[in-house]
């Protein structure tokens, strides 16, 4: 179902094409597919519907805008609810399980953007009060965040991260695992973007292809442990994620935390940023305050701290930085910009508070 089309057929003004070539070099081929997987129906986990989400609605705002006539992107597929399998994200070359099939689903060839929106979990928030990392011990940290009088921070432990699906076609108990935990090597289940343009440096074959992978889930990333996500990088240009940052004990002594918010306009807002200027750095659309202000919540409404994070890995410092800082949305569709190695790793994150002062 993946379709591609040449730059010429997009009818881009010649000026844009000249700028793009000057900035990003000649292109051998373009990756314009759009893959989207969203889960609103979690009744397999909670039959009463209490865990259902608005993520299909969020996805609709993204899908409909991004696949409208005249955009850079064409529909690959949008899977919803029971059609989102846990095997869609696992790489069979990494897991050794033939039932896994990211190649045909989340990470197909010639895909410009792949996005999954689903539940995650925040079980890495501990009950240990802290004022600094020293209070948390090995394998956990004290998050940076503004506090109200009478509150204290609580430690966050390095833990495996998860994406939850809810499908009758599950092969992994409707869970996609990634990241690491104390003293363990990072899980290597996920590998994005490997194809002929990137080469197979990531040990994931050449059967991937997405250039920008986006994961929206609860507590999907923690700033201190993003290095655990290096195995995801097998040619993908950038991985964008949501990263709640707050963990605290409130005045009543209850442990609480910030979370990724169910925000119906996430998809439409993100798409509008992308489509407003495809010559802007791709990360701008993820990093801006509209996304970070609305993208997080806390149960008390006072600690909705979080960051929109973008990660990249490539063979050089310059290439890694370029993915995060310079590469435009037009540039993300160029296969020639695929990562060619993973010797360098970078993380940029845009907080919805002054994390340069309070920490992350």
């Amino acid at each position: 179902m993946t379709r591609t089309r040449s730059l010429a057929r997009k009818g881009l003004p010649s000026l844009l094409a000249v700028c793009a070539m000057a900035t990003y070099g000649a292109t051998a081929s373009a990756a314009n597919g759009l893959s989207l997987e969203t889960v609103s129906d979690y009744t397999l986990w909670y039959p009463d519907g209490s865990a259902n989400t608005d993520l299909d609605t969020e996805g609709a705002g993204f899908w409909n805008a991004m696949t409208a006539p005249g955009t850079l992107w064409t529909p690959t597929h949008w899977y919803k609810d029971n059609s989102v399998y846990d095997t869609d994200l696992y790489d069979p070359d990494r897991t050794g399980f033939s039932g896994d099939n990211d190649s045909g689903n989340f990470d197909p060839a010639n895909t410009g953007i792949s996005m999954v929106m689903a539940h995650g979990e925040c079980g890495d928030v501990t009950t240990v009060n802290c004022a600094s990392d020293a209070d948390c011990g090995l394998g956990s940290y004290c998050p940076g965040e503004p506090l109200l009088a009478g509150e204290s921070k609580t430690c966050i432990a390095e833990s495996y991260r998860r994406i939850f699906t809810s499908s009758t076609h599950s092969q992994h108990n409707n869970q996609v695992w990634y990241g690491s935990q104390l003293f363990q090597s990072p899980l290597r289940n996920l590998a994005f973007g490997e194809d002929a343009s990137s080469g197979s440096f990531g040990g994931a074959g050449l059967n991937g292809g997405t250039n920008v992978a986006i994961i929206v889930n609860s507590c999907g990333a923690r700033s201190r442990y993003v290095g655990d996500f290096l195995p995801m990088f097998a040619g993908v240009h950038t991985v964008m994620m949501t990263m709640p940052t707050a963990a605290y004990r409130d005045k009543s002594g209850t442990v609480a935390f910030s979370d990724t918010r169910q925000w119906s306009a996430r998809g439409s807002t993100f798409a509008n940023f992308i489509l407003t200027n495809t010559n802007a750095p791709a990360t701008d659309a993820w990093f801006n305050p509209t996304m970070s202000s609305n993208g997080f919540m806390s149960t008390d409404g006072e600690h909705a701290f979080g960051a929109q994070i973008a990660l990249a890995s490539d063979s050089t410092w310059a290439a890694t930085t370029s993915h995060l800082f310079n590469e435009s949305w037009l540039g993300t569709t160029f296969e020639s910009n695929d990562a060619k190695g993973n010797g360098y790793f970078g993380a940029w994150f845009a907080c919805n508070y002054d994390c340069a002062t309070y920490g992350d």
Partner: protein, 295 residues
């Protein structure tokens, strides 16, 4: 100086875009009964603010041209795009290779950035009495060799700040309105966005009445008995990307489990905002089914 000259030329070349106001919202609503779309009398609104390229510190660059594209009216120049949606949402984004990107951030840290963004938007016409606060949003980075070295990189490096202006009317937060900018060392906008629509005066009156009822102890206790936990009163309105009718209403917002924020009226009844309904952003029943029966 060059920026203002070029901007003036840009405005002259795209006079239509610079002089014609975007479609004005004509909303109304009432607290406690859910959103309403009945038109309000023009004078019976609390002022909004629609940003405009001629008042902007954003530079579109040479060769500006106007385009209607993907729901926005855009002024596209060699250095960036200044886009306005029919709702009045403005989004200005410079190109990856625009000269402003090569300039250092504004010196002076968060405080200086916040102060200049505040004065910038006030000077551009944002109603001073509706400014709630100005907050710094930091963008930080870590880049290094992969593996153990990365994990031991000490802290993060500050790259730049955004400053975000939040809104209130008569003390009630208007949670969906915003104005924000990222300024370079010259005080020019690298990126900026504003959505600050007119709010029907009736919505504000309803919000103040809601607030007064919350100050009544028995009413407040009755509400808290019906909602999951304590929350706060805010005015909501439809997002700037919303193509449907503008709506605004005051609700009591409560954070729930699993990332959900719910809205309630003063009686504790749940309110569903139009843009949060299941098919709000497109019919979810459409689209081809997944073909394979098993993975």
């Amino acid at each position: 100086m060059r920026s203002s000259i070029v901007l003036s030329i840009a405005c002259a070349l795209v006079a239509t875009a610079c002089s014609s106001a975007p479609q004005e919202p004509s909303p109304s609503g009432s607290a406690g009964t859910g959103p309403s779309t009945s038109p309000a009398a023009p004078a019976d609104v609390r002022a909004g603010f629609v940003h405009a390229v001629e008042r902007s510190r954003f530079r579109v660059g040479d060769n500006p041209a106007e385009r209607l594209e993907f729901g926005s009216r855009k002024i596209v120049g060699d250095e960036g795009v200044f886009a306005t949606r029919p709702t009045g949402l403005v989004l200005a984004i410079s190109n990856a290779d625009a000269p402003t990107r090569a300039r250092p951030p504004l010196p002076g840290g968060a405080e200086a950035h916040d102060a200049l963004v505040r004065s910038y938007f006030l000077g551009a016409g944002l109603p001073a009495d509706q400014m709630r606060d100005v907050s710094p949003y930091a963008v930080v980075s870590k880049v290094g060799r992969s593996g153990p070295d990365f994990a031991t990189l000490a802290g993060s490096k500050l790259e730049y700040y955004f400053s975000t202006v939040s809104r209130q009317i008569d003390g009630i937060p208007v949670s969906d309105s915003f104005a924000w900018a990222r300024l370079d060392a010259d005080g020019n906008a690298v990126l900026e966005s504003v959505y600050w629509p007119e709010i029907p005066a009736q919505v504000v009156r309803d919000a103040l009445a809601f607030e007064a009822r919350l100050e009544d102890a028995p009413t407040r206790a009755a509400l808290l008995a019906r909602v999951p936990r304590e929350g706060k009163l805010v005015i909501h309105h439809t997002p700037g990307e919303w193509d449907g009718a503008f709506e605004a209403t005051a609700t009591y917002d409560v954070g729930e489990e699993r990332g959900k924020v719910s809205h309630f009226d003063v009686e504790g009844r749940r309110i569903e905002l139009s843009h949060e309904r299941e098919n709000a952003w497109g019919d979810l029943s459409k689209g081809p089914p997944r073909l394979e029966a098993t993975p």
